[in-house]
């Protein structure tokens, strides 16, 4: 296969333009899907036999949890691309993902804690998955902190990239923690080899809101990444045209 597309997408002007075009295609679906998914999940979907309405947090918790893992992986990959092939766009994307990912992780933790109260009778349990999710939050924060601590952009890019890549070991740990340790936390009930163990009436809205949050993720990521690209392309003359064009 040819790597042309790879390097083309890695060229800032091209990325800037394409990203600009893509943003609305994610923003609108995000708004609609999240709205549909949440109203469906929180209002229409039938209450659970065991946990009546408490379970409805799932429609927020699970999408955010999944996205927290996905966004970290995405960040690590983008950073690696930037570091290995010296492609600035990669760093820009990684930098753009970090805050969003941190938010997803925080939301996952918070909703999890809220859910823990009715389910486990405590907000906070020293459960592997919970702890490693918390560690992931620390990785996101550490990444952001390291970026801010280094004033020179390109150095900040590559230093933080190393951190992002190193932190990637944490992702599988979070995912498999429920299997490796006997933990309080749910074992996978959706992403299972032999199909989800969840009634469709719950699964459907879950997937819809998951799609919604994912679109939201991409929209935010692209917008921020464009800004980051601009910051890196000091004085590149394509910028003047691009900005002039966009206004």
């Amino acid at each position: 296969m040819s790597w042309a597309w790879f390097h083309r997408f890695g060229s800032p002007p091209y990325f800037y333009r394409v990203a600009g075009i893509l943003v609305p295609w994610f923003a609108w679906p995000a708004a609609i899907l999240i709205f549909v998914g949440l109203t469906w999940g929180l209002v229409i979907a039938p209450p659970d036999r065991l946990q009546s309405d408490a379970y409805r947090i799932i429609f927020v918790h699970v999408p955010n949890s999944w996205l927290s893992l996905m966004s970290y992986s995405a960040m690590a990959i983008a950073a690696a691309v930037g570091l290995i092939w010296r492609i600035k766009v990669g760093h820009a994307v990684a930098a753009a993902i970090a805050p969003a990912g941190a938010t997803f992780t925080a939301v996952s933790l918070l909703t999890g804690m809220l859910w823990g109260q009715p389910m486990w009778g405590t907000y906070w349990a020293w459960d592997p998955r919970i702890v490693f999710e918390l560690i992931m939050l620390f990785f996101f924060l550490g990444y952001i902190a390291l970026r801010n601590a280094i004033d020179d952009v390109s150095r900040a890019d590559r230093s933080s990239a190393v951190l992002a890549i190193v932190g990637a070991v944490n992702v599988p740990i979070v995912h498999y923690s429920v299997i490796w340790w006997n933990s309080l936390h749910q074992a996978p009930s959706v992403l299972r080899v032999n199909g989800p163990s969840m009634p469709l009436a719950m699964l459907a809205p879950l997937l819809v809101s998951f799609l919604g949050f994912t679109c939201y993720f991409f929209a935010v990521m692209l917008v921020r990444a464009r800004a980051e690209v601009l910051r890196r392309e000091r004085g590149g003359d394509w910028i003047r045209e691009a900005v002039a064009g966009s206004t």
Partner: protein
């Protein structure tokens, strides 16, 4: 043979080097007498491979340095603003370890080196910390020529050196060039090296 072709370097938001070209042949020395803040240190660090130019390339013996980095570094001796000495070790110990990493130098060689830079008077157990600024510079110079590398990159080597120190420096340089070495020197007063080999370069604007 060192070649810089169309080098562009940014620091922060400053476009320091705009399409810089230069070649350095065996036996030649080029003295950068650019004004403050115009990019001497940045240029030397770029050649050494610490910084990465936005455009253009640095070639050593015809090969891009990013390709054969280790080989290039073995031919290179870099002396920065920092003396890069361990304050708690004696001058001789510092030199022993500095050479121990590249080409082992024997104790006599090291003492000879210290003699040449005019530091034979030191107590052997005197830590570098207790040396004066100029004495520390001299130790760093001794290290540079103990490495007998082919290409010297010296950033203001004469700083803190008294008259005799500068004379020593010039002698070292002449010997280095005589042996087919090359040197790129950032300075503010031109050093009195044999002028036939030596080019002065007063500002990044004009070409050398």
């Amino acid at each position: 043979m060192l070649e810089l072709s169309d080098l562009h370097l940014w620091r922060g938001d400053r476009h320091l080097l705009r399409g810089l070209n230069l070649t350095l042949a065996p036996g030649q020395v080029l003295q950068l007498l650019w004004p403050n803040g115009t990019g001497k240190t940045s240029l030397l660090r770029t050649i050494a491979g610490f910084m990465h130019p936005e455009a253009g390339q640095v070639r050593w013996k015809g090969q891009d340095i990013t390709a054969g980095r280790d080989a290039f570094h073995l031919d290179l001796a870099y002396l920065g603003h920092e003396p890069a000495l361990k304050a708690d070790l004696s001058a001789a110990e510092n030199l022993r370890f500095a050479t121990g990493m590249r080409n082992g130098a024997s104790i006599p060689q090291i003492h000879d080196a210290l003699l040449q830079v005019g530091l034979s008077g030191l107590r052997s157990d005197q830590p570098v910390r207790s040396l004066s600024a100029g004495q520390q510079r001299r130790v760093a110079l001794a290290r540079v020529f103990l490495w007998d590398a082919n290409l010297w990159l010296l950033d203001e080597p004469a700083a803190n050196l008294d008259a005799s120190g500068q004379q020593i420096l010039c002698d070292l340089l002449d010997r280095h060039l005589g042996g087919g070495g090359m040197a790129l020197i950032a300075a503010h007063q031109a050093l009195a090296v044999d002028s036939s080999l030596c080019r002065l370069w007063r500002s990044p604007a004009e070409q050398p």
